[in-house]
Amino acid sequence: MSEAPLHRQLGLTDAENDRIPELIGRPPTDPELVMFSLMWSEHCSYKHSKPLLRRFPTDGPRVVQGPGENAGAVDVGDGWAVALKVESHNHPSAVEPFEGAATGVGGIVRDILALGARPIALLDSLRFGTLDSARSRHLFTRAVDGIGHYGNCIGVPTVGGEVLFDDRYEDSCLVNAMCVGMVRTDGMLKAAARTPGNHLVLIGNRTGRDGIGGASVLASAELSEDDADKRPSVQVSDPFTERKLMDCCLELAAAGAFAALQDLGAAGLTSAASEMAAKGGVGLLIELDRIPLREQDMAPAEILVSESQERMLAEVTEARLAEVLAVCERWELLATVIGTVTDTGNFTAVHRGETVVDIPASALTDDAPVYGVPVDPAPAAAPLDLDAVPAPADLSAAWLELLARPTIASKRWVYERYDHLVGANTVRRPGGDAAVVRLPGMDRAIAITTDCAERHCESDPLGGGMATVLEAARNLACTGARPMAATDCLNFGNPEKGATGWRLQQVIEGMSQALEALRVPVVSGNVSLYNESPGRVIYPTPVVGMIGLLEDAGASVGHAFQEAGDTVLLIGGGTPRLDASEWLGRAEGAPPVPDIAAEVALVDFLAGAAEAGLLRSAHDVSGGGIAVTLAESAIAGGIGCEVNVPPGRRADEDLFGEGGGRVVATCRPGDLARLRELAGGVPMAAIGTVGGSTVTARVGERDATVPVARARDAHEGALRAALA
């Protein structure tokens, strides 16, 4: 069998391979070629998505760090900023779910840490195949275990996230992790190296062969059947070292001991150091022999691209070096001077007396190729033919069945495996619309959510992009928070074929329109492409992570019904449809295009009503429709309700249909008049009363009723049963 040329084995195209000598004036050494292959991979360079990403709004009065650093950050007052970022670890999780998911958490935490920010919350957005598949059960439970293993041990609370099961994710599961941190605005660190002569200090774990080529091999191509061979490319996690790394780096950052700080993620030292140099307009000289190794016979290229976890690279002045090394020693962490900042502009690496790498750092980063993607539109989906959808004879039984579907069911089985309380700042725990976390040392809190309307995106990527952002904003507003900033992880299939490029463009356009209307900037993000196998491509899955501000942590609103006699309100507009709904269970039909202006008004109203103390509960109508919303509020509050649901085309659609921006809230009867005044043009109807031990919904002539206790059993027992 003839071997393909090295550059092709590394994933570089012939054209890319030809470009390298033009940039550096000579043919590359083997280590240089390996470095180019990784830095020019989709995962590191966004070569297929960069032009499209420019569409996102990224500016705003609160933005203190936009896209381009390890994470973005927004001002929350009193000299503090909140940093946020979401990132994928999809392909490693499909190969080795425990370590893949665990190191996904570790990586996103170090992105936040690189700003000098203390991580205060984690969320996880997960997509797996349906649980009747043994493989999906295995991947899902091991990924959850991996997330818990890492997050619990590092002491950052995992406060939220979402899970969807659909056979479109059977071959390509998605594990997206989001981290939020807190940092003094005047103490925020950057990755750009500053001053020639400064030391480069590598802090943390030894460098081994784990994760070599993970970014290029796993994250930039489709997975095939022989992926077991790729298992050595998945990194191994060590959360104890990560915790020490956090404690140590935060202590040194607070003392102002770092000139710059960078985490080692995809493409390891190659990526960390080249970005440091290129951003600072300086060069770096790295002595590979100084780097502590796990195995002594590692080749220069292996050392340069190893993705061993729990490592940070710091620029340190001569004056602060002794202090940095002493603090690292107290934390029992390896810290090694591995090189210096130079004025050459080059990434230079020396191994056993020989210069093995000497190339302009910017050739690796700024000169990466950029490709347009084909944007061939897919035909517009036709609206669902409701007559072809069987109407359930027994609406009450259908209601219970829906509550027990794994995607709708309570995720208690998941979040009880995560420490969601550590730090003692979790005001609203998982299970509601958004988590609410008090900002340490302040009276303010932030609400945090991750969301995605993937089936809507499949049917109509423009509307689905809007719906994704609007649902996130609505979830924040249900807690009383005002949306402040977003981060996104765009999970798509192969951009080089089919309508994927067009869907990517449309989703970004839809998201951007909604974000602009909400005045919410995107401050960081990540793209994961090639999530497809020969038989299956995932839905367009643009996971958005959004944070909102609550000026008074004590004024947040939960989703649980509070007290018998409270008035149940249906707030917001739009017509429920079964198109692409959870009840339908597939991405068929064409959900209504969201009314962005109406939804922005809804978000403003909800936040204002919460600030005025007028809401006793609020819960978004999303997957499973108003029936699921009512049942969840009843289960959480341990008390039922009786409501009249506005009748439309058919009772099952009225109860289980999705779409539109709608919220079920409750208030004291005496506050109704003030709420109406505040609502202005936002539609609001009193539809019933809290009380009793059953949830009863009347739709025209028809009734549906479920006892709260049975609803709870169905909702909370389903995931455990499906995984037993």
């Binding site: 002491g155 915790r243 979040y415 309380l421 550590v422 005001v427």
Partner: protein, 210 residues
């Protein structure tokens, strides 16, 4: 009253514990694992939760052999109060200062949940002012107490469900003298009404009393 809060590499709840001590009206002083002595003026000691030394070997095993634990032992032998929470409970059992051991939860997984506790023994300095049931969160992977409840001094039991699979639903035990106590639930995370419960404040207040 000064409460020393011990910190090992991998400790997670030292800040929450110190904050709870201040909420209860006391002063908190950090104690580093390499220190041979407790801070001057230490009246009581908290060994907080977390994953000391990454739970390597067994939870609490390495921490129990660290220099600061010699000082904690002397403090306990002199009658001083010592409270171990979660990983701190594991450390105290590994040190032999408390009876029994903490095994992996019956579910074989981490459990994070609000639980209710009954006070089984109200005659210790920690529990004399407590009136159950107490609503306090529990969160651990290895929290199922194992031992002989007929000889150990059981001070707290889970009410209703036994979430971790502990022998006799034991949530907390004390030494014979009652001045050393360990529990798996986290009273330091139940001292602020904003977070849902203040039922842990009584236990923390016992450390700063007099």
């Amino acid at each position: 009253m000064t409460v020393a809060v011990v910190r090992f590499p991998g400790s997670l709840d030292h800040d929450s514990a110190a904050r709870a001590v201040r909420t209860a009206g006391g002063d908190a002083a950090p104690a580093w694992h390499q220190d041979a002595e407790l801070p001057a003026g230490t009246h009581a000691v908290i060994i907080p939760g977390g994953f000391s030394y990454g739970d390597h070997l067994r939870p609490g095993a390495i921490a129990s052999r660290s220099p600061i634990m010699g000082a904690v032992r002397r403090h306990a032998e002199a009658g001083g109060l010592v409270l171990g929470i979660c990983n701190g409970f594991q450390v105290l059992c590994e040190s032999g200062l408390l009876p029994g051991a903490l095994r992996t939860n019956a579910s074989l997984s981490f459990v994070c949940r609000q639980v209710e506790l009954d006070v089984a023994d109200g005659d210790t300095p920690f529990t004399q002012a407590l009136i159950g049931p107490l609503s306090i969160p529990v969160k651990n992977h290895d929290g199922a107490w194992y031992g002989d409840p007929s000889t150990a001094r059981v001070v707290l039991r889970y009410r209703g469900e036994n979430p971790l699979g502990a022998v006799d639903s034991v949530a907390g035990v004390a030494n014979g003298a009652g001045n050393v106590m360990g529990l798996m639930p986290h009273p330091e995370e139940a001292v602020d009404p904003l977070l849902g419960s203040v039922d842990g404040l009584g236990l923390i207040s016992a450390l700063v009393a007099r």
